[in-house]
C-alpha cells in the first residue's frame, strides 16, 4: 500500500508520522521554515498533509470531473511558488484553502467561457460515459452541478464550500477572502437560485418536495440578508 493509502484522509496540522515511522515537522511553523529553506522532504510532507483538504474543496467545487487532478496539481504548484511570501506559518492552512478556492473558481470561469464554443445541437448531444455513483444519487449529483453551473461564480463557490465541502461559515469567508456578512448574503442568494433552478430537474425536485427549509426559502433569504446587513 502506498503512502497515500496509508495516511488518514483528513490530516490536521500537527505531528506528522512519515512512512518509516520518523516524526518530522511537528507543526506548520516547522514545516514552513523548512520550505523556506528549500527542504524537499518538507514539500512531500506538505502535500501529504494538505492534499485531503485541497481535494475536498476542489472536488466540492467541480463535482465529478476529470480535471480535478489537474486543478489540485495547480494548487500545489501555486503553493510552492508562493510559499516564500507566507510570513505567518499559522495561516498556512487558510492560505492553502484560499489558493484552492481561487484556482477552482478560475477553472470554472474558464470553462464557462469555453462552454459556448463547444455547442452541439440538442438532438446531437452525445452521451458522455460517466464514472462514479450510479442510480438516483448519480442523477442527483449531475443535476446539482448542472444547477450550480447556472449560478454566479462567487455564489456557487460559497454554496459548494458550505454545503458540499462542509466548511464552517467563518472558514468559507476566510477562503473566499470576504467578510462573514458577504458570505451569508451570497449563500442566501445561492440557495434561492438553487431552489428555483432545482425545480426543473426531476432528480432534485423529488428530493425537495417535503417543504421545510425549501418552502421557507424566501423568508430565509430575507432573514439572512438582514443578518448580513447588520
Amino acid at each position: 500500500m502506498g503512502i497515500a493509502m496509508a495516511l488518514p484522509r483528513e490530516m490536521r496540522p500537527g505531528a506528522h508520522v512519515l512512512n518509516g515511522g520518523a516524526t518530522a515537522y511537528n507543526d506548520d511553523a516547522e514545516l514552513v521554515a523548512a520550505l523556506h529553506r528549500g527542504d524537499r522532504a518538507a514539500r512531500t510532507v506538505l502535500v501529504q498533509r494538505y492534499e485531503p483538504l485541497v481535494e475536498r474543496l476542489v472536488a466540492g467545487a467541480l463535482g465529478i470531473d476529470s480535471e480535478i487532478s489537474d486543478v489540485i496539481q495547480d494548487v500545489f504548484v501555486g503553493v510552492f511558488e508562493g510559499i516564500r511570501s507566507l510570513k505567518d506559518a499559522s495561516a498556512l492552512r487558510s492560505w492553502i484553502a484560499t489558493l484552492a478556492v481561487f484556482t477552482a473558481r478560475g477553472r470554472i470561469r474558464r470553462r464557462r467561457r469555453w462552454r459556448w464554443i463547444r455547442f452541439l445541437a440538442p438532438e446531437d448531444v452525445p452521451e458522455v460515459p460517466v464514472t462514479g455513483p450510479q442510480g438516483e444519487t448519480h442523477e442527483a449529483v449531475r443535476a446539482t452541478y448542472r444547477v450550480l453551473d447556472t449560478l454566479p461564480d462567487d455564489e456557487r463557490m460559497a454554496f459548494s464550500l458550505r454545503f458540499i465541502s462542509e466548511m464552517q461559515l467563518t472558514e468559507v469567508a476566510a477562503a473566499c477572502r470576504v467578510s462573514l456578512a458577504t458570505v451569508k448574503r451570497r449563500l442566501a442568494r445561492a440557495e434561492k437560485r438553487f431552489v428555483e433552478a432545482a425545480k426543473d430537474h426531476p432528480a432534485l425536485r423529488e428530493r425537495l418536495t417535503h417543504g421545510g427549509r425549501w418552502a421557507d426559502m424566501a423568508d430565509l433569504a430575507v432573514t439572512v440578508e438582514t443578518e448580513g446587513e447588520s
Binding site: 446531437d124 464514472t131 421545510g212
Partner: protein, 441 residues
C-alpha cells in the same frame, strides 16, 4: 436536517468518494517531481552559463575596446545577380521582374519591388538615410538604442526608430504613401506644420504641391482604405465535394462605424480644416488598461464599458490580433454581440493568418446561428472556417454546424455536400447520425 442539507450530504459523499477512489496523491507528487527536475536542470544550465559568461566577458571586454568603436553601418545589395556591397549615392533599380534587397549590417532591410528605384543618401553608426526615387519599398528597421533611420521621398522625410512599413513614392504626381505594418513613424514635409505620426494599421497619403493644388495630407485606417467592395456571397447551388463558400462581406452597419479618414491638414481653399496631427494611440493597448483587469476577473459588462470609454472601435483597428480578439470575447461575454462581431471581423480582416483568427471566424458563425438565427450567414462563416482552417481545433464543431446551418437554411443540396464531407472526416462524430440521415434523404 433539512432537505437541502440531506441532499448536499449525499452529493458531498459522492464527489469525495469519487475523488478518493482516483488516488490523486501519487499523480500530484509525480508532477511536482517533474517540476523539480526541470527546475534543477534550469539552475544547472544557469550555473554553467554564468561561469562561461564571466570568462567570456573578460575576454570580450578587451576585444570590445578595439572592436566596438562607432563605425558606420554598411549594406549589401541582393538582387537578380550575386550579392555585393552597396555604396552611398549608387542608384539601385530593381529589374522588371525581380525585387532587390538592401541588407544593412544593423539587421535592417529595405526591399525594392520590381521596377522600384532608390539610393542610399547617408550611412552612420546609428542608421541610414534611404531616398526613394520611384515605387513602393518595404522597410524593416531593427530598433536599437539611438537608432537614427530616415526614408526620404521628394520633399518628405520619414523618421524611423524600429518598425516595419511600406513607403511608396510616385514621382509623376509627387505623392507619398506610408502604410504601417508595425510600430510608428513620423513624417514631415509639405503640408505639415508638425510631424505627422503614423501608427500600426494606419496609412498616410500625402501629395506635394501640384499645379494649382495645395499640398494635402491624410492619415486613415489602412484596412478601411484597402477594403475592396463587398464580394457577393455565393450560395452553394449544387452538391459539392467540399463546402465552397465565399467569405461573407463585413457587415455594412459595422463598417459604417469605422472612424473616417482624418484629413489632418489642407492649406488654402474654402475647405481648410485643422485637426491634431498626431495619430491616436489607444488606451486599450496599455498593459494596465482597466478593461484587461476587469475582463480577467470575469466582470465582462464593466470591462466592456471601460473598453468603450477608452475607444473600443479604434482599438479594433489598432491593437494586435490577440487584443482585438479579447475585445470581441469581452463584448460577447457581456452580451453585446454587435460589438463582438465588429471585433471578430476586425481580427479576420486585419490578421487573416493570426492564431485567434480561426476562433474569431467560428465565433461569427456561432453568433449568426445562436443570436440572429440567420442560418444562411452562419453557414457562410462555418464554411469559411472549414475551407480556411481544415486543421483548426474547432474543425469538428464547425463541420457539424455547417451541416446543421445548411439544413436550417433550407439549403438541401449544400447540406448533403456538408454531410458527405462530415462523414469523410468524422464518421463517428456527434453529427454523424444527422449526416447519414441527410445523405440518405
Amino acid at each position: 436536517m433539512s432537505d437541502l442539507e440531506s441532499l448536499m450530504k449525499d452529493v458531498s459523499r459522492a464527489v469525495q468518494t469519487d475523488a478518493r477512489r482516483r488516488n490523486l496523491l501519487p499523480e500530484i507528487q509525480a508532477r511536482l517531481e517533474r517540476l523539480d527536475v526541470q527546475s534543477q536542470q534550469q539552475q544547472r544550465a544557469h550555473g554553467t552559463w554564468r561561469l562561461s559568461l564571466v570568462g567570456a566577458a573578460l575576454c570580450a571586454a578587451g576585444i570590445a575596446i578595439f572592436v566596438l568603436r562607432p563605425t558606420a553601418i554598411s549594406f549589401a545589395v541582393d538582387g537578380a545577380g550575386a550579392g555585393r556591397t552597396g555604396a552611398i549615392g549608387e542608384r539601385l533599380a530593381a529589374s522588371d521582374s525581380a525585387p532587390l534587397a538592401m541588407r544593412f549590417s544593423d539587421g535592417s532591410q529595405v526591399t525594392l519591388p520590381p521596377k522600384a528605384q532608390a539610393h542610399v543618401d547617408a550611412l552612420d553608426a546609428h542608421g541610414a538615410t534611404v531616398a526613394i526615387e520611384e515605387g513602393t519599398v518595404e522597410v524593416s528597421v531593427v530598433h536599437r538604442a539611438r537608432t537614427h533611420w530616415e526614408i526620404r521621398a521628394g520633399r518628405y522625410h520619414i523618421r524611423v526608430t524600429g518598425t516595419r512599413f511600406a513607403a511608396g513614392w510616385d514621382r509623376s504626381t509627387d505623392s507619398l504613401t506610408v502604410t504601417m505594418h508595425e510600430g510608428s513613424v513620423e513624417v514631415t514635409g509639405p503640408g505639415m506644420k508638425a510631424p505627422a505620426r503614423v501608427v500600426t494599421g494606419q496609412r498616410l497619403r500625402a501629395k506635394d504641391v501640384s499645379g494649382d493644388q495645395e499640398p494635402s495630407v491624410v492619415v486613415e485606417d489602412a484596412t478601411v482604405a484597402a477594403r475592396a467592395p463587398a464580394p457577393a456571397v455565393a450560395e452553394p447551388a449544387a452538391p459539392v465535394e467540399a463546402p465552397v463558400v465565399a467569405e461573407p462581406a463585413p457587415e455594412v452597419e459595422v463598417a459604417a462605424e469605422k472612424p473616417p479618414a482624418r484629413e489632418i491638414e489642407r492649406r488654402g481653399g474654402a475647405h481648410t480644416r485643422r485637426a491634431p496631427v498626431v495619430a491616436p494611440t489607444s488606451k486599450l493597448a496599455l498593459a494596465d488598461a482597466e478593461w484587461r483587469s476587469l475582463e480577467a476577473r470575469g466582470r465582462f459588462k464593466e470591462a466592456l464599458a471601460a473598453a468603450i470609454r477608452d475607444g473600443f472601435d479604434d482599438g479594433c483597428l489598432l491593437l494586435p490580433a490577440q487584443d482585438v480578439f479579447n475585445l470581441g470575447e469581452t463584448a460577447r461575454l457581456a452580451g453585446d454581440f454587435r460589438r463582438a462581431e465588429y471585433a471578430y471581423q476586425a481580427v479576420n480582416r486585419r490578421f487573416p493568418s493570426s492564431t485567434p483568427t480561426s476562433t474569431a471566424v467560428y465565433a461569427l458563425g456561432k453568433i449568426a446561428f445562436d443570436q440572429h438565427r440567420d442560418y444562411a450567414a452562419a453557414a457562410k462563416w462555418f464554411g469559411v472556417y472549414v475551407k480556411r482552417f481544415p486543421d483548426g481545433k474547432l474543425i469538428s464543431e464547425a463541420s457539424g454546424l455547417l451541416l446543421v446551418s445548411r439544413i436550417k437554411a433550407g439549403d438541401n443540396a449544400g447540406a448533403r455536400a456538408a454531410a458527405e464531407s462530415y462523414l469523410r472526416s468524422f464518421k463517428d462524430g456527434p453529427y454523424a447520425k444527422l449526416a447519414r440521415d441527410t445523405v440518405g434523404y
